[in-house]
Amino acid sequence: MSAPPAAAAATGRSAPARAWKWLRENAISLYAGLAIAYMLIPIAVIIAFSFNDPAGRYNFTWEGFTLEHWENPFGITELTDAMVLSLELAALATLVATALGTLIALALVRYEFFGRRPTNFLIVIPLATPEVVIGAALLSMFLLYGVSPGFNTLFIAHVMFSISFVVIVVRSRLIGFDRSLEEAAQDLGANAFTTFRTVTLPLIAPGIVAGGMLAFALSIDDFVISNFNSGTTVTFPLYIFGASQRGIPVEVNVMAAMLFAVTVVAMIFTVWQQRRAERLAATRPEQEEEDRALALAPARG
């Protein structure tokens, strides 16, 4: 767009010109609004269909509103078992992956060592490998070793694909870390372990929690790698895959809606806490300035 029409629109009083100007200024916001709607529509469909009262086995067309499936969401034993297994698996894998990933992140940010480049490479490369290849490779190894897939192989796989994500999240939080706080603790006589426990850990805890939450979300949602390495063990996504052939029960939508609600609440809570922490951190220097201003005021007067 050249300048003249824009200038005309800016000074023009006619309604179409103003509308055109408004549209041009807000086109990107409107487009973004549509994109957000596109992202949220399937979620609305999933939640809406958790209240559906389907006639047959297929929950694809809207038949009528019912609360029946919300009243007894855990009525289907296989589904509930799969969900419980997924939660257990995610909890275990998260615990181990978060510990291993945090240690790697500490090494990468805190120390100079020989072999940094291959280490970085080994962390990034699983992220650049399609899941189907990771799943296939792991299964190949288990097959050649005669290991029968099950909960253990799922655990191994879930820890494996979560580590890289934990490293990246925790490392990004460690980079802005003020090391003088640790030095201060050591000057005051704390040994290395006490310093780590009482100073370092509380400060990097938000990063570790964020990494852990990501690992948990990845684990509970994983289908492809689990599909290859589960044997006869059934996780929540694997149950859905199996059920998709014969018709998904409405309870799946109910559980998905619950999972969604829990995650959103957890996310909002973490963001709120972070903001509060930032605000607390941010008020201190201002406070100091105010104090100094107050201290100077009488002297000037």
Binding site: M1, I28, S29, Y31, A32, A35, I36, Y38, M39, L40, I43, V45, I46, F60, T61, L100, G101, L103, I104, L106, A107, L108, Y111, F113, N120, L122, A128, T129, P130, V132, V133, I134, A136, A137, L139, S140, M141, L144, V159, M160, V167, A217, I220, D221, V224, N227, F228, F236, P237, I240, F241, S244, I248, A256, L259, F260, T263, V264, M267, V271
Partner: protein
């Protein structure tokens, strides 16, 4: 003594995690390579025979699926960029106090299980759905035409499922831009459009490179969208690998196909990074480290 111990500390920290990655990521790749050169059947057992024909046979049998996978993933990546860049831009520069809420909306699809959100698209694009009825009345689809089981539905599913991977890195790169820089450019160039092309876009290039890779790579290997939203005629290479491993149990050909897929993707990534500028992706890594 203490110096040596201090030098060893990083290796103790790295050790457990790195061993896990080597044992369960690197070593399995070797076994997959080995399996791809074996010969035999599930009942008679497999034997290592340097069976290179596994590669040539499976490639000539499934070349269509390979080409289709790269084509679908490529189109989905371009669409995701077309949707995702303006979205990330709007959140970064027009979001105001709504930024966090909008970002939450972008990642919200991740909070419902991958399979369920793909099944939701099965509902939305179903033969009797409102969307498809509307498309029919608008003449976008013929009266008895379908949307499900077409290339369009599979690409739409891929685009949707990996869109957040496109938006987040682009947003991260845009958020870092100092708005004074754009103001300065506007003062100098006097056109918002030129300021965008000369300042904003180049600065957000690393985000675009990361976003396109994070969208393209999982999309090429995906088989859920083709399974739920497509038919046999939309089968991608992931579907073939999955069924060869888990249904047909023809492990050597499945391993060969996975290996070829991995090599093709790595080659594509290397070419793309060369083309797009390696510092865009790795430079950031190096800077941080």
């Amino acid at each position: 003594m203490t110096v040596i111990r201090r030098r060893l500390v990083p290796y103790f920290l790295l050790g457990p995690g790195m061993i896990w990655l080597i044992l369960f990521f690197v070593v399995p790749m070797y076994f997959m390579g080995r399996l791809s050169l074996e010969q035999g059947t599930l009942t008679e057992g497999f034997e290592f025979t340097w069976q290179f024909s596994n590669f040539t046979d499976s490639l000539s049998e499934f070349d269509t699926q390979f080409v289709r996978s790269f084509f679908y993933a490529g189109v989905a990546t371009v669409l995701a960029l077309a949707i995702g860049y303006p979205l990330a831009y709007a959140i970064a520069f027009r979001g105001g106090k709504w930024r966090n809420a909008l970002l939450l909306a972008v990642i919200a699809p991740f909070f419902v299980t991958y399979l369920i959100r793909t099944l939701a698209w099965q509902t939305i694009l179903g033969d009797t759905s409102v969307v498809v009825e509307t498309m029919r009345s608008l003449g976008l689809v013929s009266a008895d035409g379908r949307v499900l089981d077409t290339a369009g539905s599979v690409i739409a599913g891929l685009t949707y499922n990996f869109l957040p991977f496109m938006v987040l890195p682009i947003y991260a790169s845009l958020e870092r831009i100092d708005e004074n820089l754009i103001e300065a450019a506007k003062d100098l160039y006097s056109s918002a459009r030129t300021a965008f092309w000369k300042v904003t876009l180049p600065i957000s290039a690393p985000g675009i490179v990361a976003g396109t890779l994070l969208t393209f790579i999982p999309a090429v290997g995906d088989y859920i969208n083709a399974d739920f939203l497509g038919s046999q005629n939309q089968a991608m290479i992931g579907n073939v690998i999955q069924s060869r491993y888990l249904v047909v149990n023809d492990y050597p050909s499945a391993a060969a196909l996975s290996f070829v897929l991995l090599v093709l993707i790595m080659a594509a990534v290397v070419v793309y990074i060369r083309f797009a500028g390696s510092e865009a992706l790795m430079g950031e890594e190096a800077e941080r480290a």
